[in-house]
Symmetry: C2
Subunit: 225 residues, 2 copies
């Protein structure tokens, strides 16, 4: 008898969240730079690192694939998705199209109370450091669009924002960008308060498109990856 020595793994296993937990952890590693673009993610290793079996690991990888963070090739495994300037441009083009749509639908539903809450978020964003810039920026934008009552549209926008945030982090271009972004957010809020849809849409369009262009240039100069 070989015995095999099966270890009992973890004691408590809160079911229904394993894949989610693993996906979240890997996701943080990728966004934080722990896993770099092109790194291969091996199922066995991930299972060991995150103290789980291969099944939830595979679920997690499939989730991350759908978020565009990893690419799973049949019989070849999962690799961290590369950062391609072309894709970045595409992301920002789609953001312009979808976020202006969301804002257009949201403005008629926006209450002054909601605008005050979003303004408060913007206050915090301007006071906070760069570490929180990404997440507060996300809250600002999604808060503006939420009254549109379009869950699928909002989910897609959130996804694109997350991907864009990854590009933002690697370029570390937030420094030069934060000041202008804050000014544009203020102008956007003003237009929304006046219920000036055209001005708000134009402002949002330029806000996203300009950011995309700046990032595209930085990333193109720096070479891919």
């Amino acid at each position: 008898m070989t015995g095999k020595g099966r270890k009992p793994k973890r004691a408590a296993q809160r079911t229904g969240a394993e894949a989610d937990r693993i996906a979240r952890a890997i996701r943080e590693e990728i966004l934080g730079g722990g896993y770099g673009a092109g790194d291969v993610l091996r199922q066995e290793r991930l299972a060991e690192v995150y103290d789980a079996s291969r099944m939830p690991v595979r679920d997690a990888l499939r989730m991350l694939e759908n978020q565009g963070l990893v690419v799973v090739e049949p019989n070849r495994g999962a690799v961290v998705a590369g950062l391609d300037p072309q894709e970045l441009r595409e992301i920002y083009e789609m953001r312009v199209a979808l976020e202006t749509l969301a804002l257009r639908l949201a403005i008629p539903e926006l209450t002054n109370r909601q605008l005050d809450e979003i303004a408060a978020v913007q206050d915090r964003a301007e006071a906070a450091g760069l570490a929180e810039f990404g997440s507060l920026n996300r809250v600002f934008h999604l808060g503006l669009y939420a009254p549109s009552g379009r869950p699928r549209l909002l989910a897609q926008i959130a996804l694109l924002n997350d991907i864009a945030d990854r590009y933002l982090r690697v370029t570390a271009a937030q420094l030069d960008y934060a000041g202008r972004s804050h000014r544009e957010h203020r102008r956007l809020l003003d237009a929304c308060r006046r219920r000036d849809t055209d001005a708000a849409l134009a402002c949002l369009h330029d806000h996203i498109a300009d950011a995309g262009r700046s990032l595209f240039e930085v990333l193109s100069r720096r070479g891919a990856l």
Copy 2:
């Protein structure tokens, strides 16, 4: 003794394609009406029906979830997504935004040769029956946008088209719609040939938005589900 009688399953098992095969099969069932909205899809049963184990079934369900055909709730399993008029409206709003973007980017790159090929697809669409309407319609639209060179945008548009097609099938409203759709496709092609971007975008906008409105009305009258 119980013996268990393990059956040898299938002989050939071309790995890496099981999940895809199962997802495709379930997908056809859902689109064809075999599985109705709200039906619960049990892993064990699916594994038995499609002669596979739970692992590829789970992968398949995850794929279908990302295509919006099923909803996977933690610890509750997967259910076929319902058909909600609100969601349909959202789908068409997103289609307008993304497809006009794609066409705008594609028109400068469109060659006459490509336009001829797309016109040939339209010829076949008008000659073919309603059974092929959905797929040829899809080829027409995606063919127009392909020269944009935006893979992620095209993938998203393809996804939205597939979902829209599901709504089209259940309403069976293609009959009244086919004639007008063909006329609008012709007008759209003419505008593209003239390289009249504004006219083409306006035409495409109305083409999609009107179709969405018609479908929305039919589906709203007929009640949800």
